[in-house]
């Protein structure tokens, strides 16, 4: 077991290393260097530009830049944000909690909701519920997250004035307001972005689970369980559903890239102060260190998610457990 784990960890580290290298060289693919556009935004004397270059180490040969970068990145140092002037690491840490809240919540809702709805579809195969849910899930998947966010913001926030449409909290709420009021405030702001992100993600999970459940129900051991006089309910939930959940666990780990991409749009639309909106901002301001930092963090999270999913799968499915 330890050997298997060690091998998976090694694979994970290697993957991250390749990701870092890829990201670095992709960004340097363009002619000129990251600072060459800076002069377009606001006029600056050549000497200042040169000074900045030296400061960011951009006057070094590319390979040297790469090694310096990797060495620093491993230690968590991504340099300074060009736009904010503060260390990238600080900015990321500031914005991380909001993303975890939104992303984590969406992950939970998507997986739970998707698993239950998909299983229900399978149990009532070919019924009206099944067919409607099938089309609805495809439609949800086809919906652009940013558009859905706008529509929801308009309907719920503006027309019906039920929920706030932007930001993390009410700026007018007193800083010393009770803990419960503060939490409620954040939750109210979380509602719409969470709903948006969940809706566009849940469709795929539903379809996936439906198939997994149908397969589980068709297994011979289900018929054998029936022959033993076990109740349908027990057969469905304990035998069929349990077996169909394993692929979902793997999905959990693989869903991170989807959520990360979705959150870029959803956070931007709702001005949710997370990493997604940070990335969108950074592209707009051509803030390369910041963009790199966010991208690499996402890559690490994706790899970590995959690793955790593998471990969870092994923990749950006795067949896969390495001896």
């Amino acid at each position: 077991m330890a050997r298997w784990l060690a091998r998976r960890l090694l694979h994970a580290v290697l993957t991250v290393a390749i990701a870092i290298t890829l990201a670095f060289f992709l960004m340097r693919l363009a002619p000129g260097d990251p600072l060459s556009r800076l002069g377009d935004e606001r006029p600056m004397p050549a000497s200042e530009l040169a000074g900045l270059r030296a400061r960011y180490g951009l006057d070094q040969p590319l390979l040297a830049q790469y090694t310096t970068f990797v060495a620093a990145a491993v230690g968590g140092d991504f340099g300074r944000s060009i736009h904010y002037g503060r260390p990238v690491r600080e900015i990321i840490l500031d914005r991380l909690p909001a993303s975890l809240l939104l992303g984590g919540g969406a992950l939970l809702l998507t997986m739970l909701g998707g698993a239950l709805l998909g299983a229900l579809q399978a149990l009532r195969r070919d019924s009206l519920l099944d067919r409607t849910a099938g089309v609805v899930s495809l439609a949800a998947y086809a919906t652009p997250s940013f558009w859905l966010g706008l529509v929801l913001a308009w309907l719920v926030g503006i027309e019906w004035r039920l929920l706030p449409v932007g930001g993390f909290r009410d700026p007018l709420l007193a800083a010393d307001a009770s803990w419960m009021l503060q939490v409620a405030d954040v939750l109210r702001h979380l509602a719409l972005p969470l709903l948006t992100l969940t809706i566009v993600s849940i469709g795929a999970v539903m379809r996936y689970q439906r198939t997994a459940m149908l397969e589980a129900l068709a297994q011979p051991f289900v018929a054998a369980a029936r022959a033993r006089g076990l109740s349908e309910r027990r057969i469905r939930w304990r035998h069929a559903l349990r077996t169909s959940l394993f692929p979902i666990v793997t999905l959990l780990g693989l869903w991170l890239p989807v959520l990360a991409a979705g959150s870029v749009f959803v956070e931007s639309v709702f001005a949710w102060p997370g990493l997604g909106s940070l990335a969108a901002e950074a592209v707009g301001t051509r803030d390369y260190p910041l963009l790199m930092g966010v991208t690499l963090l996402v890559a690490v999270l994706v790899v970590l998610g995959g690793l955790l999913a593998d471990i969870a799968y092994a923990a749950l499915d006795p067949r896969v457990r390495p001896a």
Binding site: Q219, A223, A227, R228, L230
Partner: protein, 324 residues
Amino acid sequence: MSSLLEVRDLRVSFPDRATGAVQPVDGVSFELARGETLALVGESGCGKSLSALALLRLIPPPGRIESGSAVVLDGTDVLALEDKALRKVRGRRVAMIFQDPMTSLNPVFTVGDQITEVVHAHFKVPKQEARDRALKLLNEVGIPDAATRLDAYPHQLSGGMRQRVMIAIALAGEPELLIADEPTTALDVTVQAQILELLDQLRATHGMSMLLITHDLGIVAGRADRVAVMYAGQIVEQASTAALFAKPSHPYTQGLFASVPRLTGPVGHLMPIPGTVPPPSAWPSGCRFRTRCPIVHARSAEMPPMLQVGPDHSMRCWLAEDQQ
């Protein structure tokens, strides 16, 4: 000996795109007395497994049991039971073991869990008692080191042991009738004899009746009290084992015997039955064996009923008429 199970005119139909519907089980009738073993013999596709499934109403949709069929277990009409009552029959009065123990056991639950699950489903006993019973059963079916094996997963056991586990699960309900559908087909030859021996012992110890379904005539001798030979959805010959082996009467049965190699006796030629078993949609009208029969009776265009050939020995063939 009173009759434990009475099956009359069992008919199972499946919808068929070409012909509307087919009846892979077409008018099967037999009786099973208490404590006796009946072997249902036939090649694959003859409908024997479906007949067994029908006894517990396990026919997978879109198949269905046709009205006019009767399955009576010790006076209870199984086909008319409500779901709850049916569950009290399944596993409790009638237990079934299947051909492939690997796919019939849930891979993610331990062996012990799967046995105790059945115990809890049919008896109100505390958890520890259920576990004790499971342990006893594992010992009874001959699993070495049973205490440890209770917590093993199916994939950790060999094929023979998995089949023993299946038998243990079947016994957990203390059934009156055990249906064994090709219990040894998926096993190594060396293990087959052991399992059959085990089934025999258990049947005697627990006073169960057994319906043994197989395509292998070899395992029937010495293990079954009576034999019913099936072909194309029908029983074509029924007799006590001794009578059948002494005088196989239906041309199909004779063909089966002729195609089985013998270890003793004169060395002759192996004679396979010419042709192949037709699918339900292509069954000939009248006697279904006539396209492959070496004799082909004059009346074979007409479906023969079961006719007596001797005491407790009948066959579905017009030749019986000639002999009377």
